[in-house]
Symmetry: C2
């Protein structure tokens, strides 16, 4: 990272220039550069963030098969009718046992891909090793700064990584279906913690009304802080990890003022979609009026600084010649129990840190 | 971390003393201290590792419902017949959609818990945020150093975290059942990469022979490096992440010499168990004769040093007063786009790193 004027390589400067003039190919290129963490990607992000506008991010999450893609496609089509430029990011988990099957949904978005007013990008999370989740959030920043009227983010809510990405949206819509289990499961999965709007999709199926009722009850419970009763390794740890990103200014959220609606949709027919989009607008208006939007952005900035610092420290630790040499020369001593990984780590840290 | 003689608090010194004299309650206490990352836990680990012996670690992994717990219980009972002292660790994932159901298996181990020659501990992985996987490996080190004749580790092979923990075992047994899908899925899940021994459990069920045949074919394919054909975000990325821990001395593994057996068991009746335990012994003998055990331990030590360095750097970044103050004072500038998270991170790093 250098961040000086003209600090970008000629190639990155050209990408930046074309990005700022609104070329979609430059956005795609910038996303690849950030995803791959190529040399200078943080400088590029720095420059984009100093000049780019920032837009409205709407996240859609929920279990596989809940119809998120269809809802996103419907929402995008509806916004297009008002001539908004829309960015869509679909974040796919790479859970080994679910494999590629989850991607099937993506096909339904194909109708939209011929529309030049819509930019769609699908990306993998690649799990936890290596902090890819941070990079994913940085891709969202790029989308944010490119000048779309709205950015829609779709994630499958199956793990902390995905939920953390979702939590980076201004408005989070949690999509459930009767088949996806009951509200207690959603609570355990941490979905209650991140939802600004609940949608019971496939509302024409049996059990939809019951699920909606359960969610409302669970929301009441949550308001009464009964969440504490959930075992720590399920709901609470998770929710704390997520809260970090969204609500460091906790009072703003605790004093609330936004009452989470539980809506019903049939994504395939478009039933309920207008009401959902109204709720998104209402939430947006509340975010702005309450100062919560500003608070969220500050929390996000705080978190991003910490992530970038940690990533760079990791990089320094891995690439430092001093650390590598010390480590290699100490392996025999560790084998002979003269040293341990802890004493060696201490010596490396003393050399790297001020 | 201090690592000086007598650097431990009186409380930790007492735990250490009792640990070294073989008190099981002190082991349990030490595990809690490490799991919770209490003050001084790394000093305690340092002291334990300089003096403790090190034992043989056998890992059991595979999809939920494969019968791992029953196999582990059977193996433990069999070792007990030869008066070995056995430690068992069951690592439970906390996947939000699977919830506590996976824990049901644990009940089958209850028969063993009244035996003072067996120590059983169940622990959660708590996902990726915060590097808990490293702590889990450190708990294995404690078990290792306590003086058991053998430590058995059971993990559900459903994610990178769990697989990475499994890869910390000397001998990894991958348990599959006909119902858990075909060998291709196991390959995609990275299980081929970590298996030293394959077990087809519930071998009395239909499809068992077919699965065993598929696994053998897949192993041949793998030997021929056909693994490259698997999409990068499934098999390859994952396997690289795992290889890191076990085979930094890559030649030793490439030249091989260990031919992975594919065995059949019926865990509930104990059928096939003696052959499995023979294979474990044979693998152990090979590890020692080939120098691979030493290579694995060096790789593990290298990895541990890096993990501990990164964890401490993260801690420094989070707890540094300088960093916190700089960050808080910069939030307004970030909001006004005078600064970005990247320029602020740079200033923090300049202050923290040499």
């Amino acid at each position: 990272m250098s961040h000086e004027a003209g600090g970008l390589s000629p190639a990155l400067s050209s990408v930046l220039e074309r990005f700022l003039s609104g070329e979609v190919t430059a956005l795609a290129r910038a996303i690849s550069i950030v995803e791959d963490e190529r040399d200078g990607f943080e400088d590029l992000l720095h420059r984009v963030l100093t000049v780019g506008p920032s837009t409205c991010r709407v996240g859609f999450t929920g279990p596989p098969g809940a119809g998120k893609s269809t809802l996103v496609a419907g929402a995008a089509a509806s916004y297009r009718e008002h001539d908004e430029r829309i960015g869509v990011i679909a974040v796919d988990p790479t859970s080994p046992y679910s494999g590629g099957a989850l991607l099937g949904d993506r096909i339904r978005m194909n109708d939209l891909t011929t529309d030049p007013g819509i930019f769609i990008r699908s990306m993998a999370t690649r799990g936890s090793l290596g902090g890819l989740a941070t990079t994913t959030k940085e891709v969202l920043d790029l989308m944010d700064a490119f000048g779309f009227d709205r950015v829609l983010v779709e994630t499958v809510g199956v793990g902390q990584t995905e939920l953390a990405i979702t939590a980076a949206a201004d408005t989070v819509i949690v999509v459930l279906v009767p088949e996806s289990g009951d509200a207690i499961q959603a609570m355990k999965a941490g979905l209650m913690e991140i939802a600004d709007i609940f949608v019971v999709n496939k509302a024409d199926r049996p059990g939809a009304d019951r699920l909606a009722k359960q969610i409302r009850q669970a929301l009441h419970l949550k308001a009464g802080h009964a969440l504490k009763d959930i075992p720590a390794h399920h709901g609470v740890d998770l929710s704390n990890a997520l809260r970090k990103e969204r609500t460091t200014d906790a009072e703003a959220v605790e004093q609330g003022g936004w009452s989470i609606p539980v809506l019903s949709t049939v994504a395939h027919s478009g039933e309920g979609l207008p009401k959902l989009l109204e709720a998104v607008e209402a939430h947006r208006a509340w975010l702005q009026a309450s100062g919560q939007l500003e608070a969220c952005r500050r929390a996000r900035a705080r978190n991003r600084v910490q992530d970038v610092v940690e990533r760079e420290m990791r990089r320094v630790a891995r690439r430092s010649e001093f650390a590598t040499e010390l480590l290699e020369s100490a392996l025999d001593d560790i084998a002979e129990r003269v040293e341990t990984p802890y004493s060696v780590a201490r010596r490396i840290l003393d050399g790297l840190l001020r």
